[in-house]
Amino acid sequence: MSSPANPDKPQSGRVLKYVDALREAVAQEMRLDPSVFVFGLDVDDHKGIQGSTKGLVDEFGPDRVFTTPLSEDAMTGVAIGAAVAGMRPIHVHIRMDFLMLSMNQLVNIAAKSHYMYGGQVTVPMVVRGIIGKSWGQGAQHSQGLYSFFMHVPGLKVVAPSNAFDAKGCMIQAIRDNNPVIFVEHRLLYNTDAYVPEEVYTVPFGKARVLTKGNDITVVGISNMVQEALRAADLAREVGIHAEVIDPISLSPLDIDTIADSVARTGRLLVIDNDWVMCGAGSEIAASIAERLSGTQKIQIQRMGFAPTSCPPTPELEAAFYPNPRTIGEMMHKMVRPTDARWSPDEARTKLAYQLQFRGPF
């Protein structure tokens, strides 16, 4: 099983979209393991969860790929029961916001069963939740609530930011003997990367260093990795070299890789795809501070959603999110605090995936 260090450097295979990489991973595992099944609202309709489950019902039939009533709470319990009985369910939610209806089962049962029952049972299930953004998704279709799950021992949480990791993490998640919250971002679905055709896994708990640099360490989460990479490109033009790191898995979290980098750069900027307060980015910042602040002088900054609900009206929505411009400005401010303020060229801060996306959903 290959695990290339950098998904941008092709090993084998072809350029594949994130959405297709996800679907391929599930299909390959379903072929290999008859205990894997996919269920959740609308997984079998013609749109197939924005393409990510499209066609699966044709290949695997309605016993292994099926829709459910609108009953997230009960269906999560069903997934847990099936997992305890030795199956490997993948429970799909078209928006992460709807996972709030599953919270009780996930936190009180799924996360605890293995421990609370003294290891007699395991709960090998995958819960997919998609984060929405733009086109008026608004307050209830745009939340990145992964930190809720990171908080709870017994759950794993992953948030791959590119097609290569999407496939490898999905296969790893299906094979994992624990409940895995699999966080996807809607706007990543059309991004592509080299993805091997063969089956491979991306291990959890190992961060990926995407660009090398000595001036500042920038950690992005989920689609904020893409925005951080763009900001780093623009900052490089003014001589700032950022080391961009993608943790990929949020729980377990690879603090070592980030700490090694910050020990060298002396600066950490974390860009979360969530609110800052009690978020994944705060956890990373706190862990780095604990690890390094006693031994060296370091600067730490966190960025994330504005501390408000997400408004749909376009200009406020744009101001709600970090973007390559605001990230670039922050990088510059941290690296060159005494220089005049610098801002990247606005036109070049727009990301293709943002420009492409058009509603209604």
Binding site: L41, D42, D45, H46, K47, T67, T68, P69, L70, S71, E72, D73, A74, D97, F98, M100, L101, S134, W135, G136, Q137, G138, A139, Q140, H141, A306, P307, T308, S309, P311, P312, T313, P314, E315, L316, A319, F320, R358, G359, P360, F361
Partner: protein, 345 residues
């Protein structure tokens, strides 16, 4: 105004315009010509407002996911016509019809869809989160089922304060699959809350037909076991929905507890977005044909004298155009608005 006074007023109106009274068409529905005209105007207003939304949508001026009620207006109109201004509605993300039918401000609705600061939620809600507390339209939610118990809470407050208000709680067939629906039925019946449950059963949750989600369709029977009287309106007839609403509103005001209406209706457009979707394969145009043929907007329109209908149509067009103009010419919110209303003062 109590319902009986309203009805007396209506009878007086009937006498003055007696020559226009067409008993044959309204028989059994306790609705005079004025009432019929009112119902038609509302059906037509919702239809035209949403058709305008669909027209505008391709221009990208409305960057909000719109869930249209075109074809299924009769539930909102039938129920809301039986309510008093101080009564309350709790709707869903498919909520334009409920909002308009209860008297929500049309200008503020269009402005909200455009994301303008003059919108009913200052552009911070969007189509899925309409609200107009001045007209007793509770805020709608995009998380299915969440507003059902909120309606009960409002009813509980009204009951505790001895206000004779009724809360009509709207939800789709998909929402009835959530546990919160059954929990709410039980609680409302137990506490005899002044609630009218309104199931807008359009047979689909997104693209999934009811047969893939329900083992049987005997919803009214299920609900009756909670001790709640039910009415099934299998053809979505706006006047039958109105009758049932009058009956349950009276009952609720007497303190006898909730009633339940299942309105079978049909969504003509795609689940979300402005278009038709019969080419998508999950439902057939054949299924749509009988609904198109019995279109309540047309059916009720035909019951009116043509000059009255033409006048109402002109008024509706003017209302809709004024609302579009209002939205177009309103300003977007200033950037500071992002941080307003996070916490109440």
């Amino acid at each position: 105004m109590p319902a009986n006074v309203r009805r007396n007023q209506r009878i007086a109106t009937v006498q003055t315009i007696g020559r226009l009274w067409r008993e044959n068409v309204t028989q059994g529905h306790q609705l005079d010509l004025t009432g019929l005209a009112r119902v038609y105007r509302m059906l037509r207003l919702i239809r035209r407002a949403e058709e305008r939304v669909a027209d505008i949508y391709p221009s990208d001026k409305i960057k909000s996911p719109v869930h249209l009620s075109i074809g299924q207006e009769s539930a909102a109109v039938g129920v809301c016509d039986a309510l008093n201004p101080e009564d309350i509605v709790s709707g869903t993300y498919r909520g334009h019809a409920t909002y308009i039918a209860k008297g929500g401000d049309l200008n503020a609705m269009f402005a909200e869809l455009y994301g303008k600061v003059t919108g009913c939620a200052k552009g911070k809600g969007g189509s899925m989160h309409l609200i107009d507390m001045a007209h007793n339209v509770l805020g709608t939610s995009a998380v299915v089922g969440t507003t059902i118990p909120m309606g009960l809470g409002v009813a509980l407050a009204a009951k505790r304060r001895n206000q004779k208000k009724v809360v009509a709680v709207f939800f789709g067939d998909g929402a009835t699959e959530e546990g919160v629906f059954y929990e709410s039925l039980n609680f409302a019946a137990l506490h005899k809350l002044p609630v009218i449950f309104v199931l807008e059963n359009n047979g689909y949750a997104i693209h999934e037909p009811q047969v893939k989600r329900w083992a049987t369709d005997r919803m009214c029977e299920r609900v009756e076991t909670y001790g709640i009287p039910t009415t099934l309106v299998a053809d979505g007839d706006v006047l039958a929905i109105r009758d049932a609403s009058v009956k349950y509103a009276d009952r609720a005001r007497r303190g006898d507890g909730p009633g339940f209406i299942e309105a079978r209706i049909y969504r003509w457009r795609e689940h979300v977005g402005p278009g038709l979707d019969f080419d998508q394969g999950y439902r057939s145009e054949k299924e749509f044909e009988p609904w198109a043929a019995r279109d309540d907007v047309e059916r009720i329109g035909r019951m009116l004298p043509s000059d009255i209908r033409a006048k109402l149509d002109r008024e509706v067009e003017a209302d809709v155009e004024a609302a579009v103009d209002f939205a177009e010419t309103s300003a977007f919110p200033q950037l500071e608005e992002l941080y307003h209303n996070v916490l109440a003062r």
